[in-house]
């Protein structure tokens, strides 16, 4: 099946297997390895990407369904330069240990910022409730997102 989609700002026209899950298509066909597969059932949020600027778990939809849509992954934020501030905030605050949940956390935070550029702490907590972290704990992650919100730059 041929699809047209915008992936990380690039318009693509590509023949794909529409029955693949979006996570498999992004990792295997598009080589976007920031998208992590954790639980495979939409519970852990490691595979979170943006579909038309909204956070979705890419293990719970089929690749064919993104025809005509816009997808953003962490690689897309890297291209626009947005990733640097987020990454520095996460690392300075010790919000990354194994790092497996980090791309999903970042994409959930990005989706929140699209909706609300000045979210409260509670809104941040709600936005990442679908992202599990099993090593760092959430306080440091929430603090990092708060600092991104406030535009605090780290060296």
């Amino acid at each position: 099946m041929e699809i047209k989609a915008t992936i990380n700002g690039d318009e693509i026209v590509k023949n794909i297997n529409p029955n693949k899950r979006l996570v498999d298509f992004l990792r295997d066909d598009m080589n976007l390895k920031s998208v992590k597969e954790g639980c495979s059932e939409g519970e852990c949020g490691a595979c979170t990407v943006l579909l038309d600027k909204k956070a979705v778990t890419s293990c719970t939809l089929f690749a064919g369904q993104i025809d005509g849509c816009e997808i953003t992954t962490v690689e897309g934020l890297e291209k626009t330069g947005e990733l640097e501030l987020i990454m520095k905030s996460f690392s300075k605050n010790g919000a990354i240990q194994c790092g497996f949940c980090t791309p999903g956390m970042i994409m959930s935070a990005k989706a929140l910022f699209y909706k609300n550029s000045n979210p409260s702490k509670d809104e941040i907590i709600k936005a990442i409730e679908g992202n599990l972290c099993r090593c760092t704990g959430y306080n440091k992650i929430v603090k990092s997102i708060e600092e991104v919100r406030d535009g605090i730059e780290h060296e």
């Binding site: 297997n17 029955n19 519970e43 909204k54 956070a55 719970t60 089929f62 064919g64 409730e129």
Partner: protein, 290 residues
């Protein structure tokens, strides 16, 4: 091996055509949150899909002649935020807001929640309490209506035929003297699958309950109507004393419905918590109205 075909109709007419070509291994997909996970888990790769999410008509919420028409591809996030739903079916907004995570609510649809027919489906308990109907289309374009309660036959079982798709959910909104609420409890505080859920809808005349509907989910193959609780509510004054009585009857209802299930000991206590939540929420809404 069968050839996999992926079709994404853009109108009901195109959907009809797609349904007429449907084979035994063609699946209807909307949000995908159950189907994509299930296919991967069961290692099924050889199948065809009809993606109904590109049909604009199925994404609308409209208020028509006293009835609210909700397209089957309306997502949980839409139900949560929509003014019409918040005003006329607030318990549906609440149920939708309790489902999964933000990521899941951005995908999961009301039609999918019905067609998937899980015993813990959160919107379903509400739709039962409101006597909601669905509109179903088939491969020759015929449209039939059926109560959501009748469509769902058991866990994962519905009356939907192979060439049929739910296109709309029709709900009569609550009147000014009616109140409804929903609550659930699961293993985690948020992003949780209901271990038990419930919806109560009440009609009040001053402080007296003139009519009630009570459905409790996850204590049967589909949400169970509790006549025991309804009878205790009807013609009574809505107050703290009545609430205490209802919480006890909630436990009795659980024991009546699942006398042999191990989970009964947990659920007979948990039900009190969710019924208490519902009562408090209705009380809060009444105070806001006054």
């Amino acid at each position: 091996m069968n050839k996999s075909i992926f079709t994404a109709p853009k109108s009901l007419d195109e959907l009809k055509t797609a349904l007429s070509k449907k084979t035994h291994n063609t699946y209807i997909v909307a949000g995908g949150t159950d189907l994509a996970v299930g296919m991967n888990k069961n290692k099924i790769y050889d199948f065809s899909l009809i993606d109904i999410t590109k049909i604009k008509e199925l994404k609308k919420i409209e208020y028509k002649d006293d009835l609210i028409e909700i397209g089957s591809c309306v997502r949980m996030v839409d139900l949560e935020d929509n003014e019409i739903i918040n005003k006329y079916v607030p318990s549906l907004s609440k149920a939708a807001s309790c489902i999964g995570s933000t990521q899941i609510r951005n995908l999961a649809t009301i039609g999918g929640n019905i067609a998937n027919a899980a015993q813990c489906a959160d919107t379903v308990a509400v739709l039962f309490a409101f006597d909601a109907e669905v509109e179903i289309i088939n491969s020759i374009g015929e449209i039939r209506k059926e109560l959501v309660y009748d469509v769902i036959q058991g866990i994962g079982q519905t009356t939907l035929k192979d060439d049929e798709v739910i296109i709309k959910v029709i709900v009569k909104g609550q009147e000014a003297n009616e109140y409804s609420s929903f609550s659930k409890i699961g293993a985690r505080k948020t992003v949780t699958i209901s271990k038990i859920n419930a919806c109560i809808k009440l009609a009040l005349n001053d402080n007296k309950i003139t009519d009630s509907r009570v459905y409790i989910g996850s204590i049967g193959v589909k949400a169970v109507r509790s006549l025991l609780i309804e009878n205790a509510l009807n013609n009574k004054v809505f107050n703290e004393e009545l609430k205490e009585k209802i919480l006890e009857l909630g436990s009795k209802q659980v024991l009546d419905s699942i006398p042999k299930r191990k989970s009964k000991d947990y659920k007979k206590i948990a039900v009190k918590g969710i019924l208490d939540d519902i009562f408090c929420d209705i009380e809060k809404r009444r105070n806001l109205d006054e």
